[in-house]
Structure formats: structure tokens, C-alpha cells
């Protein structure tokens, strides 16, 4: 069994605040891991360490068999240059809570920017891929719109298409529906479910318990910088062993 994501005893502090207190987590290729937990439990920070937006203080993380942010040579780990880190990130898609689309670029330009500038794809090919992806998220007619002309749900679907344009081997979602009006949550979750059914490896931080139950292969419950409990949804969500998991679920269900 090879893990697509392999996190070993990851620690991270912001000043005196210890956000991650030793995380071990493996996600296999094709698997969907859903991370649940109260706010401040460190789940977003954990997600951000996977593509090196945050650097861990100790421990290590590897994605697809290669270390994130470091290169091993003999008995030393060399920190990667920014350019190499950026290169690594093209293999990892990231979808933000607040979309972070580029407001001065059209939907099409948002999606083609990274393939053209980071992967040096020919523009024509990038535009074709973008068209296919837009159709896949149900926004084929919005290519020339600007992000501010779209609803939140549409913007998040564009953001997902933008992440997919790099053909990543791993997708990370940081509370992808938390900034959306309730009636728009469904359309975004449907897109993510679709990706899950096609065997995309994903780590999803969310508060949507129903989504976790339906899509997750593994549910990870975090609290206070630690993983409290993990396992298939039928165990963690329906028969939690830990009292903290029970307490959390009783509040959100």
C-alpha cells in the first residue's frame, strides 16, 4: 500500500500557540479523506501544510512519494527553493474557502493562467482543457464572465475547475462551502462528489457531515491540534468511540 499523502508527526506553532501537536495521517491514492473538527482544531493548518503554504516545524509530509518542501541528499534535508516549491504545488490542487479567483481576469483566463505560466502548456491546448472543465462544472457559458458577475456557488465551481486545470494527483479543499449561501452549497458538493466517484484523491476539510457520510472513505476527527479518531464514516460518525467526537457530533448533527 503506497500512500498518496503521508504525514508523520507533524508539529506546527504560531508563536506560542501550538496548532498541530503531532499529526500522523495517510491517505491512499483514490481515497477521499474528510477532516472534521471544531474551529481552531488545526484542520485548515494541516491542509495548508500539505502543499507547503505553511511549513511544519517538525515531522515531515510527502505527496506521491516525494517530500514536500525538502529534498533529501545523503543524510541531509535541503530546503527547496521557492521555484521548486511552486513546481511541486502544480501537482496539488487547492480550493479555498473564499475562492480567491483573480477578479481582474475572466473565468477562462483564471483557469488557463497556471497551465500556461507554470506548466508551459500551449495556450490553445490550455483553452481547450478549460472549456472541457467548465462544461464539467456546468459553467460552459461563463468563460468570458468576470468572477464578480457570478454567484458564490459558480465562483467556487470555477475555482475547482482552475485547480483541476493542472491535472493534479491530489486535491485539497479548505471548507469549500463555508462561504456560500445555503441554497448554493449543493451545487458545489455535487461537483466534489462527482470528482470523488471518478477516483480523485482528495482531502476535504468541511463542516458538512452529510457530505462526509456519503463521500468519505476515511473520516478524520481533529481537536486541539491532534487527530482524536479516524476511520470509515460508519464507525466515526455512527459509532464514535471517543467522548470528544461524540460531543462534537451531538452538536452538529
Amino acid at each position: 500500500m503506497t500512500a498518496m499523502v503521508d504525514i508523520r508527526s507533524a508539529h506546527k506553532s504560531f508563536g506560542t500557540l501550538e496548532v498541530l501537536r503531532g499529526i500522523d495521517l495517510q491517505v491512499r491514492a483514490g481515497e477521499v479523506a474528510v477532516v472534521l473538527g471544531p474551529s481552531g482544531s488545526g484542520k485548515s493548518t494541516l491542509l495548508r501544510t500539505i502543499n507547503h503554504l505553511e511549513k511544519v516545524d517538525s515531522g515531515w509530509i510527502s505527496v506521491g512519494g516525494s517530500l514536500v518542501g525538502y529534498r533529501r541528499q545523503g543524510n541531509r534535508l535541503y530546503e527547496l527553493r521557492e521555484r521548486e516549491v511552486l513546481r511541486q504545488r502544480t501537482r496539488i490542487g487547492f480550493v479555498f474557502q473564499n475562492f480567491h479567483l483573480f477578479p481582474h481576469l475572466t473565468v477562462l483566463e483564471n483557469i488557463t493562467e497556471a497551465p500556461v505560466s507554470a506548466l508551459r502548456r500551449p495556450r490553445k491546448q490550455a483553452v481547450e482543457t478549460a472549456g472541457t472543465l467548465l462544461a464539467r462544472v456546468g459553467l460552459a457559458d461563463k468563460a468570458s464572465a468576470y468572477p464578480r458577475q457570478l454567484s458564490g456557488g459558480q465562483q467556487q465551481r470555477v475555482a475547482i475547475a482552475r485547480a483541476l486545470a493542472l491535472e493534479p494527483e491530489l486535491l485539497l479543499f479548505d471548507e469549500p462551502t463555508s462561504a456560500l449561501d445555503p441554497e448554493l452549497v449543493g451545487e458545489v458538493l455535487d461537483v466534489i462528489k462527482d470528482l470523488a466517484h471518478q477516483g480523485t484523491t482528495m482531502v476535504v476539510v468541511t463542516h458538512e457531515i452529510g457530505f462526509a457520510r456519503e463521500v468519505a472513505d476515511t473520516v478524520v476527527f481533529m481537536d486541539d491540534g491532534r487527530i482524536v479518531e479516524q476511520g470509515p464514516p460508519s464507525e466515526v460518525l455512527d459509532r464514535p468511540r471517543e467522548t470528544r467526537t461524540k460531543a462534537f457530533l451531538s452538536k452538529v448533527l
Binding site: 521555484r83 504545488r89 505560466s117
Partner: protein
């Protein structure tokens, strides 16, 4: 007495039928004091215009005679050159200083901070006189190994003429202000934009050029236009260095013929015309950078 049912109302008020207002005439609110203010202002404006036309002191025929003479046109051209080089060099250096202040290196940060602190503290006119007297401080300028031997050397007297001293002074002064304007613009861009660009693996320079700067331009432009316009008028200060820009030349002419007011009007109208051109340019440049924006 039962609490579960209300006592029957003896006289249930009959709902009055809704009146139909649609046929009535609507009378707007009157603003009598607004009309008074308009009348007073109109009289003042008329008096001023009347004075411009009838007061012989303006000497419009003198104005017309000098407005487009070769001397004045040459002076306007020098003013434009001073503005152009001052702006171009000033903003080029300003961008470098802005990114030094935004960099992670404490040394680069403090050098940029000190530069901005110093050049904002020294009055422009004092600085210009310093540059004008550069030859007194450094007689020769050498290019070579720092603290070591030089390969090329120049006499500063030949290198820094009055014009280059003026451009240098204006540009160095402008750079301090430009740096803060550019820094402000970059800081105004949502941090999430850089994070998204980084998460997509977009190369660093491309992040700046394609993602950050176009968005920063929206807040940079209004301030930058202010700076360019104030630099343009500020070039009149280099008249102290006897450079033949617009204001200096006008002074020379009225020193000769004594027609102070019409010649000041020549300078004034040129300043107004060129500021108008800059303002129109500002409008179009701002429109270019506002794509995708809602306001």
C-alpha cells in the same frame, strides 16, 4: 373568566376602504434657499467673468502675443521633459524601494525606510541646491571595484549639468513618495490573491506582473496621478537653478517688458492645459485597469 378565548369585541371596527390616490397630482418639495444660493453664486461668477473681459490690467493682447512664441514653447517643452524624466526615474526607483520595504530582509527594509525618511524630510528646494553643488562634494565619479580602483571616471562638473541636477533632484524626491504609493497599492491587494497564485504554482515574477500589480494599480493610479500633476507644477521650483523651464522663462520675459500679469497668465494657462491632458490620460489608464471591477 376563561383565558383560552378572547372576550368578544362589541364593536368590531369596520375596515375603511382603501382610498385611491392614483388620480391626485404630486407636488414636489420646493427648495427656495437653493434658488437664493444659485442667484448669489451666479452674480459672483458673472462679476469675475466680466472682470476678466473688461479689466484692461489682464492685457489679453499681450497674453495672445506671447502665448505661443518660440521662447515659451521651448520652455513648455523643458517643463514636459523635467516632468517626464522625474516621473519615470522617480517611479522606477520608487518601485524598487517599495519592494525593498516589503521584502523579508531587515537590512533592505531599513535601507528603504531610511531613504524614504530622509528624502521626505528634506525640502525639495534644499535638495535641488545640493545637487547643483555636487561638484563641491565629489569632484570625480569613478566606476570600478567598490573601495578599490576605478575603471572609468568622469568629472562631475561635466556630468551633472543644471538640467541633470534638476532631473536627479526631482526623481530622487519623487521616488520617496512613489515608493509609499506603490507599497500602499501592493498592500491593498488581498493576501488571498498571492496565496492562490502560490498554490497554483505560478512563477514568482509572473505572480507580481499578472496577479498583484494589475490589482495594485487600481489604488496606485489615483495617487500616482496626483504625484505626477504635482511634480509637473513642482518643476517651477527649478527656476531657482536658472533652468529655462516655463516659469523661469516667463519671469525672464516680464523682467524685460514689465508685463507681469499677462505673462503669469501665459504660464497659468499652459499649466492648466497640460494638467487637463494628464487628467484625461488618467481617466483612460484607470479605465484600462478597472476590468472585472464593480466600482
Amino acid at each position: 373568566m376563561s383565558l383560552t378565548s378572547d372576550p368578544p369585541l362589541k364593536t368590531a371596527p369596520e375596515p375603511t376602504p382603501a382610498e385611491d390616490y392614483s388620480a391626485l397630482k404630486v407636488v414636489p418639495v420646493r427648495h427656495p434657499w437653493r434658488w437664493v444660493a444659485v442667484a448669489v453664486t451666479a452674480v459672483l461668477v458673472a462679476q469675475f467673468a466680466h472682470g476678466l473681459v473688461t479689466n484692461p490690467g489682464w492685457e489679453w493682447e499681450v497674453f495672445a502675443r506671447f502665448f505661443a512664441t518660440e521662447t515659451i514653447l521651448k520652455a513648455v517643452w523643458i517643463t514636459i521633459q523635467l516632468t517626464f524624466y522625474g516621473t519615470a526615474l522617480g517611479f522606477a526607483l520608487g518601485i524598487v524601494l517599495a519592494f525593498m520595504r516589503l521584502s523579508a530582509s531587515p537590512f533592505l527594509k531599513s535601507v528603504a525606510f531610511t531613504y524614504i525618511w530622509a528624502f521626505r524630510s528634506i525640502p525639495l528646494i534644499v535638495q535641488l541646491l545640493f545637487w547643483f553643488n555636487l561638484t563641491y562634494l565629489y569632484q570625480r565619479l569613478d566606476f570600478g571595484i567598490p573601495f578599490g580602483p576605478g575603471f572609468f571616471s568622469f568629472d562631475t562638473a561635466g556630468l551633472v549639468g543644471a538640467m541633470s541636477a534638476a532631473v536627479l533632484g526631482l526623481a530622487l524626491h519623487q521616488a520617496a513618495y512613489a515608493a509609499e504609493i506603490v507599497r500602499g497599492g501592493v498592500l491593498a491587494v488581498d493576501a488571498g490573491q498571492l496565496e492562490a497564485a502560490a498554490a497554483l504554482g505560478i512563477p514568482r515574477l509572473r505572480q507580481l506582473r499578472r496577479i498583484v500589480l494589475p490589482q495594485a494599480m487600481r489604488s496606485i493610479l489615483p495617487n500616482a496621478a496626483n504625484e505626477v500633476i504635482s511634480l509637473f507644477k513642482g518643476t517651477s521650483i527649478v527656476s531657482v537653478m536658472a533652468i529655462g523651464e516655463l516659469f523661469y522663462q516667463v519671469q525672464v520675459v516680464y523682467g524685460r517688458n514689465g508685463r507681469v500679469v499677462p505673462l503669469l497668465m501665459v504660464a497659468t494657462v499652459w499649466y492648466i492645459v497640460l494638467t487637463t491632458v494628464l487628467s484625461v490620460a488618467q481617466y483612460y489608464v484607470e479605465r484600462h485597469f478597472s476590468r472585472g471591477a464593480t466600482r
